[in-house]
């Protein structure tokens, strides 16, 4: 694995802070009704992404996840302005405004969605890995899912296929404690999600998902195994989401104290503590990062705000590859 250096920490700090502030901005503009529909924010889970990115080969590896998906593509290299514009429903968005919050995609940056149907992306992740194996490419796919998603049949079928064909895929469950308002313990006899790998003899284990260092180490082992032909791995990241499931969630299913407990091990604070302890940056340098992040978020908002809505013809332009597809009329 690439060494974890001062630069890594500084990058982690800036990235994670940016993701956090990006999501906060989305929450703010949601209230202003500039972003509509569902809005699932990543706050609290940033270490999973930061650690994973460190372990990946960003020149070739792939990523796919569920609908909590605004910041992963940014991590993969997508211009955050385009992600923000997508949420505003603008033509400059990653999907030209067609997909919205739950459906961010980037072919260029090997980010394969953004999937709204719980568990739907799990076989897709295996499929990406299948194609890489088929074409003898040495790319690895990281396929993320929630703790709720692991109860879908799709996971079990995909696990079996991935093991049977030894596909280069790392399945990562981001166990943030809840599927909407339902805790893990209320929906399964077995609460240790990582053990789902055991039935398929897939290498598996639990990981502290609040610490990017641990995440990076464990993901790296899995990615390395996959790249060397050793097949899939299943990792359960123990993490936490600070905000509600989506925007209309009164959160009666948990206490404020529980949320506060997790904030004590906040990934951004953990990284910042190391930076300060090891004197990787001065207070002035840290303040400069904070300022840069704030400006970047503002730029994203301005870009999204100032972009145009898509032209009406686009409704039909992006459905089929066939250019002259004969759509039926739906009204006069």
């Amino acid at each position: 694995m690439k060494k974890i250096t001062k630069e890594t920490y500084l990058q982690w700090y800036e990235d994670m802070l940016f993701w956090r502030k990006f999501e906060d901005k989305l929450a703010a503009v949601y209230i202003q009704q500039k972003v509509r529909g569902f809005l699932h924010l990543y706050n609290g889970q940033e270490a999973v992404l930061a650690g994973s990115l460190h372990a990946m080969d960003l020149e070739k590896d792939r990523m796919i996840t569920a609908y909590r998906n605004h910041v992963q593509p940014i991590g993969m290299g997508v211009d955050p302005k385009k992600v923000m514009a997508e949420l505003f429903g603008k033509v400059t968005g990653t999907s030209k405004g067609m997909g919205g919050s739950m459906h961010i995609f980037s072919k260029e940056h090997r980010f394969y969605g953004g999937h709204g149907i719980v568990g739907g992306q799990i076989p897709l992740g295996a499929g990406l890995a299948f194609a890489d194996k088929y074409f003898k490419r040495d790319a690895v796919t990281l396929c993320y899912m929630g703790d709720g998603a692991v109860r879908q049949g799709s996971l079990h079928e995909a696990f079996n296929l991935a093991m049977l064909w030894q596909l280069p895929v790392v399945f990562i469950c981001e166990n943030n404690g809840y599927a909407m308002g339902t805790s893990v313990a209320r929906t399964s006899h077995s609460t240790e999600i990582w053990k789902l790998g055991l039935g398929y003899e897939m290498p598996c284990g639990p990981v502290d998902g609040m610490d990017p260092v641990t995440v990076a180490e464990e993901v790296h082992k899995a990615v390395d195994r996959a790249r060397k032909g050793g097949g899939p791995t299943f990792l359960e990241m123990k993490t936490y989401r600070y905000r509600g499931h989506s925007m209309s969630d009164a959160q009666h299913y948990r206490t404020k104290e529980e949320v506060e407990e997790y904030k004590k091990i906040d990934p951004i604070t953990q990284v910042l503590d190391v930076i300060k302890d090891k004197r990787y940056a001065t207070d002035g340098e840290i303040a400069a990062i904070d300022k840069r992040v704030k400006e970047m978020v503002k730029e994203c908002e301005e870009f999204a705000e100032n972009s145009d809505f898509p032209p009406i013809e686009q409704l039909y332009d992006v459905v089929y590859e066939q250019e002259d597809y004969p759509f039926l009329p739906h009204k006069l």
């Binding site: 529909g37 067609m98 739950m102 909407m180 009666h252 299913y253 039909y316 759509f327 009204k331 006069l332």
Partner: protein
């Protein structure tokens, strides 16, 4: 009469039936402790307890099938899908098992089950969360499909659906749960398969069902000011279809507009169109017009969504067209 919300009508129907018959249970994601993702089962866990109001994991295939299996030997399950978009994960159990069990077993096993939840679009939720599968389910022999548009019908029809000895697909809308309407104080049911004339009129018939019918009523209101009298028929049940009510109205008005929130290819409106031209061809003074959602997945962007989803103006245009105005 009393005024209640649509979500309360749903909860009342389920609760009244569960008090009457203890073989009924309610199962689905967030139905118990959270009181329903859209609060349509509020208070039910408290009243009936966790044996009869069950939260499930996100395992639609599993719990749809558990519902069907338990219905083979005595239960009368109500299975809630958080939305019918997610029923696709479990649709095999509905189409291959619930719908076919009675026929395959030569009449030995009827399946008295209700699958319910919201259907169709609900704002900018984009492609996978804005789908209307009424016509998919209605295409399947063995199923009945009910789509109420107001609290009174929701309560009366849901009670009938629960009492029905065959599988019923019961479709609501996120955007209707907050709607208020008058419902009778006491016990009542509304039979499945019977349409309602929601507004009487003489110049043109508009057939619709579910949430989108509000656009038909709004159009009828506007058209009335122009001196055009619209008869609005609320199908309420899509399968079996109350063709008689449609034909009777068309024979009176001689003009038909159908408003359905669904993709245009082979939908419920298509079936109505076939039946009317077959049985009332000579009564028609203009070709039938159907208004649907665009022939594309739902877009996210607000401007495109507005174009995609039919509205009052589209209905007014269609009425003008069939009246050659």
């Amino acid at each position: 009469m009393k005024t209640i919300q649509f979500r309360e009508a749903i909860a009342e129907a389920m609760s009244e039936e569960m008090r009457r018959d203890d073989s009924i249970y309610l199962m689905g994601e967030e139905v118990a402790e959270y009181n329903g993702a859209y609060k349509a089962s509020k208070g039910m866990l408290d009243e009936f307890g966790p044996e009869r109001v069950l939260d499930t994991p996100i395992s639609e295939l599993g719990f749809a099938g558990v519902g069907v299996g338990s219905a083979m030997i005595g239960n009368r399950p109500i299975i809630e899908f958080m939305t019918f978009n997610f029923s696709l994960v479990g649709i095999d159990q509905i189409i291959n098992n619930a719908a076919k069990m009675r026929q395959m077993s030569g009449g030995q096993f009827n399946i008295p089950i209700v699958f319910r939840g919201p259907t169709a679009s609900a704002g900018q939720l984009a492609a996978t969360h804005s789908q209307a599968f009424e016509s998919w389910f209605a295409n399947t022999p063995g199923l009945k499909v009910v789509v109420p548009s107001n609290p009174k019908d929701a309560k009366g029809l849901l009670k009938s659906a629960i009492r029905d000895d065959d599988p019923v697909i019961f479709m609501e809308s996120e955007q209707m749960y907050g709607d208020k309407g008058e419902v009778p104080e006491g016990e009542y049911t509304i039979p499945l398969g019977v349409a309602e004339i929601g507004r009487e009129g003489s110049d043109v018939t508009i057939v619709s069902f579910g949430k989108i019918i509000k656009e038909a009523y709004a159009a009828a209101e506007d058209l009335d000011k122009e001196g055009i009298s619209c008869e609005v028929i609320d199908l309420r049940t899509v399968r079996p279809m109350d063709s008689e009510a449609i034909l009777k109205s068309v024979k009176k008005t001689n003009r038909l507009v159908i408003l359905e929130e669904a993709w245009p290819f082979g939908n419920v409106a298509t079936e109505i169109t076939y039946q009317v031209q077959q049985h009332a061809f000579d009564y028609l003074d203009a070709p039938i017009v159907k208004i649907n959602t665009a022939d594309t997945p739902a877009p996210y962007s607000p401007t495109l969504l507005e174009e995609w989803l039919p509205n009052k103006e589209d209905v007014i245009k269609a009425v003008h067209k069939v009246l050659y105005k």
